[in-house]
């Protein structure tokens, strides 16, 4: 990493207030992403993946308790911007989002073409006609028939909606696109379709992806790097190939063992217990209560150990 990375997140925290206490949804997350790179963030449901995406995009709900850390994107320190500057300089200019549940991400009473054109008119000051020309072009590139411009979201199938959203995410050619479970609501064929599209888009558009998913099988298609999140923290980061062959963290190990394989009749494993609630977390390693390799030291919070270019947050790797 000689050059400055595209995205540099350091010690990002996002805590929510709730009636039971403070929820540490994102807790001290560090993450780097290069230009033209793709990182997949893996983890179970409820481990803070979506909250991380929201924290980077500053899409905060009302009950935020604390939100701090440092996020640098394309030479811009995001955390120092006020809301108005953030809106005009970061949102959809430098990064865009393909949200979870894309079925619901389009305004039901606006034509989809208008919705895709909106960021162009806003951020690049285009007239409606100019913007619509670009949208038409973009629709062709992501495989949406051009006459869908004048349609409403309810007239499109799930796959088409997702393509429209992807067109929308790319329309202002941002450097970073955050994909929050982009295919979770789609059938398998359409999923494959969308992933092919994303692969093509990535090479054509010179864009970096953060892909958030719990679907390990499909993520291996796209990712260069993998980050594993557990209970609001990133427990392992490394390049995808080596990660999928030999994960370091016991949690990653278990996660990989739970993926069905086509050949071989090995029994699928699962992890006993469930992720801890993120309220009033005990000291020590958060995975310890479910960890098969637990030992005495796990009562203390593990630091991040570097093994080559990979990083892992586990006491097992202390002496290595």
């Amino acid at each position: 990493m000689s050059e400055k990375p595209l995205l540099n997140v350091e010690d990002l925290n996002l805590y929510f207030r709730s009636s039971k206490g403070i929820v540490q949804a994102v807790d001290g997350v560090d993450l780097q992403l290069d230009y033209n790179d793709a990182t997949v963030i893996l983890g179970e449901s409820g481990c803070g993946k979506t909250s991380f995406a929201k924290a980077v995009l500053r899409l905060l709900p009302r009950n935020v308790e604390s939100y701090c850390g440092s996020v640098e994107l394309d030479g811009l320190n995001l955390m120092e911007l006020n809301d108005e500057d953030f809106r005009l300089q970061a949102r959809w200019v430098r990064m865009s989002l393909v949200p979870q549940a894309a079925m619901n991400a389009l305004n039901p009473v606006m034509k989809v073409g208008d919705q895709v054109a909106e960021p162009l008119m806003l951020h690049q000051g285009m007239t409606k006609n100019q913007a619509m020309e670009q949208v038409e072009d973009m629709f062709k590139r992501v495989g949406v028939p051009v006459d869908f411009l004048d349609r409403y979201a309810f007239e499109l199938s799930g796959g088409m909606r997702q393509r429209v959203i992807i067109a929308m995410a790319l329309i202002t050619t941002p450097k970073l696109v955050i994909l929050d479970e982009p295919t979770s609501a789609l059938d398998v064929l359409t999923q494959a379709n969308i992933f092919n599209l994303l692969k093509r888009v990535k090479s054509e558009f010179d864009v970096s992806f953060i892909l958030i998913t719990h679907d390990i099988a499909t993520s291996s298609e796209l990712a260069k790097n993998v980050a594993v999140m557990y209970a609001g923290q990133i427990v392992e980061v490394g390049d995808a190939k080596r990660f999928f062959d030999e994960p370091l963290h016991p949690y990653s190990d278990k996660l990989m063992a739970s993926v069905p394989r086509l050949r071989g009749n090995q029994e699928l494993e699962f992890i006993t217990g469930k992720p801890p609630s993120l309220i009033n977390i005990d000291m020590g390693c958060r995975f310890a209560p479910r960890c098969p390799k637990r030992f005495d030291k796990c009562d203390q919070e593990p630091p991040v150990f570097e093994i080559g270019s990979r990083k892992v947050k586990c006491w097992l790797y202390e002496e290595k």
């Binding site: 809106r87 200019v93 909106e118 495989g143 929308m168 692969k199």
Partner: protein
């Protein structure tokens, strides 16, 4: 290459059939169907009114009895008939009664005559009032009612518009300030809507007309009415203040509270987050991504409100001595003036139908999902 081929093959079922309808055709079709349905509703409603007002034909029997009695009195009171024998007198009476019944058309069966009534009612050929007269002295029911219609339209048009605008603004404000003091205050005020407008009307008259003496007790304009058109309008506005105020007090808090909740629900939709992520300004998000998608729901709620308000018109107009058709209705009931009651019902049926039609039209404008006879409308 292989990948793109697969993609193309799979893409096919995703492409839906292109609908040739434009927005205009869609709305025109929808409104056409609505118009036919409303027309049928009016016909049925008015026919029911005709049946009820005639007590299912029993009124005919009463009228026949009355004719017999009148003819009998006539014959007994007429000295020219004194020499006739009882038999001749009976015969004469039967003849005269039969003639009178024929003259009035009562010899036809009621069921046939009822369709005649229906036709007359629907074409606003409302006949003559029995007791009431219009201000110009006419006994034509149509004139009596049409003369009073503008006053009613002014009052209900103005107050419904006010209710809509005020509720919308307050609801938007509240949804922005969720959980603040102002929000809680409006929620606390919502039980005021459990009492009807005329109830508040009484209090408003007591406070502003009796104690403070700053507003008139009722009526449409000052007496004598000002000559100048502008002053006339101002005087009407002054008289409108209390009844409109009564409607606002009874309708706005609950409506605003309802709509605020709609806004809150709709503002937690994913596309609102998406709009935020796109960097739209908050006023644009509010207009395009919260207000617009919520409008269909709001129009529905408003339509229901307007219909309930129409039914309250009779008492409110009476309380404020407002010379509209609601008050005429009340008078007609008091005088048992059947033609006016039926005529009034017909006018109300038309007013309701026009209201519903207009709101349906607005609904079709604001919601592109509205379509004739397809199930796609219930997808959100």
């Amino acid at each position: 290459m292989e990948a793109t081929q697969i993609e193309k093959r799979v893409e096919r079922p995703e492409v839906e059939e292109r609908k040739s309808d434009s927005d205009f055709m869609r709305i025109a079709k929808y409104m056409g169907v609505r118009l036919v349905l409303l027309a049928i509703t009016i016909v049925i409603g008015v026919y029911l009114a005709v049946l009820i007002a005639n007590m299912g034909g029993y009124v005919d029997e009463i009228r026949k009895g009355v004719i017999k009695e009148q003819v009998g009195m006539q014959i007994r009171g007429n000295p020219a008939y004194e020499d006739l024998t009882a038999e001749e007198r009976q015969k004469l009476m039967a003849e005269m009664v039969a003639q009178e019944i024929r003259r009035l058309g009562l010899d036809e069966p009621f069921i046939i005559r009822s369709f005649g009534f229906l036709e007359q009612a629907l074409t606003l050929n409302l006949g003559r009032a029995e007791y009431m007269t219009s201000d110009t002295g006419s006994k034509q029911v149509r004139l009596i009612l049409l003369e009073r219609l503008p006053a009613t339209l002014v009052m209900w048009g103005a107050s419904n518009l006010l209710v809509f605008i005020l509720s919308l603004l307050i609801a938007l404000g509240l949804s922005r300030k969720y959980g603040t003091f102002f929000d809680k205050m409006i929620i606390a005020l919502t039980p005021t809507s459990s009492a009807p407008a005329w109830f508040y009307g009484l209090f408003l008259i007591l406070i502003f007309a009796v104690v403070l003496e700053i507003a008139p007790f009722g009526g449409l304009v000052a007496a004598p009415p000002p000559e100048n058109k502008l002053r006339y309008a101002l005087s009407v506005l002054r008289h409108l203040a209390l009844p409109a105020g009564a409607i606002l007090v009874s309708s706005v808090p609950l409506t605003a509270y309802n709509w605020r909740t709609f806004f809150l629900i709709y503002s937690s939709e994913d596309y609102v987050d998406m709009a935020k992520a796109k960097g739209l300004s908050s006023s644009k998000i509010e207009r395009r991504y919260i207000l617009r998608p919520t409008l269909p729901t709001i129009v529905t709620s408003f339509a229901l409100l307007v219909i309930t308000l129409w039914t309250g018109a009779i008492i409110l107009e009476t309380v404020f001595n407002w010379p509209g058709i609601g008050k005429a209705y009340n008078q007609a009931i008091g005088l048992y003036d059947t033609p006016v009651i039926v005529g009034n019902t017909v006018i109300y049926a038309y007013l309701l139908a026009i209201t519903v039609f207009l709101l349906d039209f607005i609904y079709a404008l604001v919601d592109p999902r509205v379509q004739v006879g397809s199930g796609t409308g219930n997808q959100l």
